[in-house]
Each structure stands twice: as C-alpha cells, then as structure tokens.
C-alpha cells in the first residue's frame, strides 16, 4: 500500500467519493437490470474502481483522452460524465450520453475525452494509437490512455498497436486491467505467461505491474506514464492487477471461481483500503463515511428517477447520426 501522506484531504475525499459512487451506481444498475429496466449485456465494474478512478486522477482533464472496453461505466464516471445521463443511456433513453444509441458498452463524451466504450475485445487499442498520433501531429500537448482486459492481450490488435506506438513514439499509455478472467476463462489457462506486463519488453516499451486495489498506486503510476507520454512521446505499458466481484456480465453466476478466492479479494476492497488509510490519518470518521454513502445512494436513486422520467428516442432518430 502506498502512503496517502502528502495528498490533500479534499483530494482523497473526492477520490473515495468517486469510487463509492461507481460502486453504488453499479449496484443500482444491476438491480435495475434485474427488474428488466435495462437489457442486453451489462458488465459491472464492482471491485475494479481503483483502476479507473486512480487513472483519471493521473490524467489531465480536457487534454488527455481515454478509451476502454465494454466494462465502461466506471471510466465514464471518473471522467466526469453525468451519472444521470449514464443511467439514462442504460435505459436507452433520449437523454442518455449517446442519445440511447450506445447502451452499456458504448458510453461516449467527445469533449470530455471519453472515447468509449467498445464491444470488440481489444478493438479500441489501435484507435488509441491513432488518437495519440493526432495529439503528437497536432501538438495539442495531450496523451491517450487505453484500457483493455487480460482477455484482450492475445489479440493481434494489442501487439500491432504496441509496435506502432513504439516505432512512431506515440504519447499513449496501454493499461491491461487484469481482473484475471476473460469471461469465464482464468488467465493462466490461455496465456503462455502469467505476468502479462513482460509482453511490453518485446516492443521495447517500459512496462510494470501495479496493484489495482490501491488507488494511490494506480494514480501515481498512471500519472508518471502519462507525463512521460506527453513530454517525451514515449509509450508505456501497465498491467494493473485487479478483480471483479461480479460475473462477466449479468447473466454470469461466476461458478468458475471459488468462494475463498473472491473473499480474499473482498478483504482488500479498494474502497475500504482507502477509507482505512484515511481513518488512520484522521481524515475521515466512520460516521462521515456512512453519511457520504447515504448521500451517494440518494444520488444513484436520482439517476434512476431521471432515467425513468426521460423520454424514449423518436423513430426519426433511426436515420440520424450515421453520416456526417
């Protein structure tokens, strides 16, 4: 665990609040899915909150860009997308971030640097190199970070993008969010190596493993990598070890894991780990935490109310947003 000393109380408080908001948002999304208010695939982020929150805290807002896979609700919240509009998107409503045309897997906000939300495993990785290519070419001073799972690392897209980023010196940070299962398949069953970060060495890209349950570690490593990308045009690769509490998607009871394994990770819950460090430093009390949690439960309830009250998109929307 990295020390929290040196960080402002408000900063740590905001980080804790954001992670807890993501947790409560995902729980509510799961609940609404169960009530059939949300359909299709719905991949929840519970347990991985420190990854997107830490990473977003290490980015420069308005300058940097982020791409991820289909487990994207947390990244969207971390980049400052309105949770009410995210819930409305899950409902397929006209007020959703993508006007109800994207859904759970496709959360976007171009202006905020949220470049999705992608449903093809690993398909977003080449796009990130393109974003970074443009950032370097246009000299806009930004960098791009791209997230993908341990399942994506065997795709050609990952390897082709890593090589291009290295030879063209692109300001991009590759992040493998290793939650240790590609759907129901344990990573060691399908990977020739268990430490995935070593694959970066083949492309001469600086690579390291990061504890994804420690939001401070994630933030510090992502910040360093993004700074290097922005200032030196050098790509980096981070393998961030994490764990998803829920199944792959709502239809997955996750019977391929043992109760003991899941419990071991629950014991190092990223939210509780930050909270306990803040408590030890007298930056938050149990009562304050409970009050915060109560507020956030209210926030996600309002998300549901907003989504419920929002209109369906009109039929005329079928033929819009196809050609520019």
């Amino acid at each position: 665990m990295r020390p929290i000393k040196g960080y402002e109380k408000t900063f740590l408080h905001d980080l804790l609040k954001e992670m807890l908001l993501i947790r409560r948002f995902e729980e509510k999304a799961g609940q609404m899915y169960g009530l059939k208010k949300i359909g299709g695939f719905c991949h929840l982020y519970n347990g991985q909150e420190a990854v997107c929150s830490g990473a977003a805290a290490g980015m420069k807002r308005g300058l940097d860009r982020l791409l991820t896979g289909y487990r994207d609700h947390g990244h969207a919240i971390s980049l400052g997308l309105d949770p009410q509009k995210l819930m409305a998107e899950l409902y397929g409503k006209a007020t959703g971030v993508s006007k109800g045309k994207g859904g759970s897997m496709h959360m976007f906000d171009y202006a905020k640097g949220m470049w999705g939300g992608n449903g093809i495993v690993g398909g977003q990785i080449p796009l990130a190199t393109g974003s970074a290519f443009a950032q370097k070419s246009q000299k806009d001073g930004g960098a791009t970070i791209v997230f993908f799972g341990d399942g994506a690392i065997h795709q050609g897209a990952f390897h082709e993008a890593m090589n291009l980023a290295a030879i063209w010196k692109l300001p991009v940070v590759f992040v493998c969010e290793n939650n240790q299962y590609g759907m129901g398949t344990a990573v060691e069953r399908v990977s020739s190596v268990t430490d995935l970060y070593i694959k970066g060495q083949a492309y001469n890209i600086p690579s390291k493993m990061v504890d994804g349950m420690d939001v401070i570690a994630v933030m510090e490593e992502v910040k360093a990598a993004m700074d290097t990308a922005r200032t030196k045009f050098e790509p980096s690769f981070l393998e961030i070890k994490t764990y998803r509490y829920k199944g792959h998607s709502m239809s997955d009871p996750a019977k391929y894991r043992t109760k003991e394994e899941t419990e071991a990770f629950l014991a190092q819950d990223p939210i509780l780990l930050l909270k306990s460090r803040m408590e030890a430093a007298k930056l938050i009390t149990e009562d304050e935490y409970k009050e915060l949690d109560k507020q956030l439960k209210e926030v996600v309830m309002q998300c549901v109310e907003f989504a419920e009250a929002s209109p369906e998109p009109g039929y005329e929307e079928i033929y819009t947003d196809i050609y520019a």
Binding site: Q124, P126, L127, G130, G156, A161, I322, A324
Partner: protein, 326 residues
C-alpha cells in the same frame, strides 16, 4: 487537355489535397521510401516529409485502426492498402470503429478518412490476390464507396473523398493504373453519389463500375456493329448510389445488363439488378441480365482466369439476350 494515367491522376489528387490541408497524411506499406507498390504515391515523401507520408509495418489492422483514431481527432488520413485482399485483416477496425462510433455516440464523432488501393481480379495472381470485395463495404451502413473507371473520375473522386467527413472506401484496380485518359489542369472534384453516362445509347443500358466499365464500352462498340445502340452507365459511386441517373437510363432503353467482376452471390451487381427490376418493373421489356465472375476461387492459369471473369463477349451476349436477339 493532358492525357495521363490513372496512377498519375491519383497521385495528383493526393498531392493537391496534401498541399490544401495539413491534416492529410498517407500511411501504408511501402508508400514512402519505395514510392508505393504501384507508384501512386511517387515523390510525396520527398515533398511532404516522413511525418505525413508514413511507411507502416505489415500490420493492416494496426495502421488502419490507427488512422481511424487519427480521423476521430480531426486529421484526414488516407490509408493505402497494397491490395484490398490484405485489407480483410483490418475490416474489423472499419466496420466496428470507423463506421459505428458516430452512431453509437449519438453523433459525437466523425471519421474523415479514405481507404484506397487495388480491388478485384488482376492477372496470374491466383486465389488470394484476385478478388473483388466491394460488396463487403457496400453492405455496411456508414461507408461511402466509390469505384472510378477513368483517370478523370479517379482524380476528382479521390479529392472529393479526402474532403468528405465520412469514411470513404476507394476501390481501384491493379489492371487500370496504366489506363490513360484526359484530365484537366487544376482543381476539380467529382461529387460522390453521382454516376456518369459514359456512352449515350437507346437500346440497352450496360451498367457497371470500376474496371468493367471499360469492358462495357468495348462491348458497346461490338454491339454497334450489329446495329444495337447501347448506353453505358458508370455508377462511379456505389454508396450513395445515383438511382436517378441509373433509372432514367433504364426508363429510356427499357433493357439493362449489370456487369460486376465480383462473385455473383450477394454482390453489388446482384443488388443493382434487383433494384432495377423492382423499381423499374413497369419500364422493362426484358429481365435484367447479370454478368459477373463465375462463382469459383480464381484459378492461376491465364486462360481459365480470363474465362472466369466478365468478358466483352459475355456482355455482348447478355445484351442480345435482353434484346431477345440471341
């Protein structure tokens, strides 16, 4: 007017658009130091430098996806696929990203890029290098797809494609790079979505795109010897399709032959054939004929490979059949 090759017309279009806008970059295998596998990008590296004319590794998915991302960020990349056969490795990046981002984001993204290169049968190349994949892109909503047959159209359409804010699939032909034609000096564009009557006629419409248009023109000459006055409709643009021009030709001649060098099943040609039959049913005096490649992998043997593809003789025969003169 200058008479130049298709290759030179394409090169001029790239050159002029690169001068016109700094965001235009070219990337692909051998496009820079080697001057392009078919020399379409000759001299551009020297003129615009290695930041704008980029040799890529052999990694179609990787550099095509990179170009899509750069286009989202406001650049105007022109991707050269050495051939559309290799492009199959990259098709995921186009179908799922180039095209879908706009729709999935509710209109927040646009993808101003061009993917160009040779498509369709060439010669002596066997099963993996002699195929037309036009229908793969025409099938997916969100692409624009163009397929010029002449140097004039190639230059004007490529300039229009580079200026377009959508992903444009630009189909060339290996066998046509040396084909010559008149091209005016200076700037002009051919509007995407507009077909062209390449030969006026009254008796039957020969409808095609890309290289087979030239074959239709030769077939029309043969038919003229027998007193048949054929009209040649060059679609030029497959998406959007110039239905107005196509249907007005068919309504004039009342007979049509569609020519497509792709395989017949679920092809652009079969789609055009069906559209004419449905939308011009009352104007037709005969079923619409269709000349395509045979429904087989391309053989290497030259006699066989020529027999597999549309020929002037096959088009002439189809036209006569439509005129009940066979």
């Amino acid at each position: 007017m200058a008479i130049i090759t298709m290759r030179e017309a394409l090169r001029q279009a790239l050159d002029e658009e690169m001068t016109r806008e700094a965001g235009v970059v070219i990337m692909g295998e051998e496009v820079a130091q080697y001057d392009g596998a078919y020399k379409v990008t000759k001299g551009l590296l020297d003129k615009y430098g290695a930041d704008r004319v980029l040799d890529t590794p052999i990694t179609e998915l990787g550099f095509t996806g990179l170009a899509v991302g750069a286009a989202f960020a406001g650049m105007r990349p022109v991707v050269e696929w050495m051939t559309f056969q290799f492009g199959l490795l990259a098709i995921d990046q186009l179908i799922h990203n180039a095209v879908k981002y706009r729709s999935m984001s509710g209109g927040q993204f646009k993808c101003p890029m061009v993917v160009r290169g040779p498509n369709g049968p060439a010669e002596y190349l066997g099963g993996q290098h002699s195929q037309s994949f036009a229908s793969y892109f025409v099938h997916v909503p969100g692409f624009k797809v163009v397929a010029p047959a002449t140097p004039y159209d190639a230059k004007g359409l490529l300039k229009a494609a580079i200026r377009d804010d959508n992903p444009v699939i630009f189909l060339e032909s290996e066998m046509s790079y040396g084909h010559k034609g008149e091209v005016p000096e200076g700037d002009y564009v051919v509007e995407i979505g507009k077909g062209d009557i390449k030969r006026e006629g009254t008796d039957v419409s020969l409808v095609s795109f890309s290289k087979p248009v030239l074959m239709c023109l030769r077939a029309a000459e043969e038919l003229a010897k027998e007193g048949i006055n054929a009209e040649v409709v060059d679609l030029r643009s497959l998406v959007p399709l110039d239905e107005e021009l196509l249907y007005s030709s068919v309504r004039k001649t009342n007979r049509a032959v569609v020519v497509d060098e792709a395989w017949p099943k679920a092809s652009v040609g079969s789609w055009i054939q069906a559209k004419i039959m449905l939308d011009c049913f009352d104007d037709l005096d005969a079923p619409v004929e269709f000349v395509s490649s045979e429904d087989v992998p391309m053989p290497y043997n030259h006699t066989l490979e020529l027999e597999v593809q549309p020929t002037v003789a096959k088009i002439v025969a189809a036209a006569k059949k439509a005129l009940y003169r066979s």
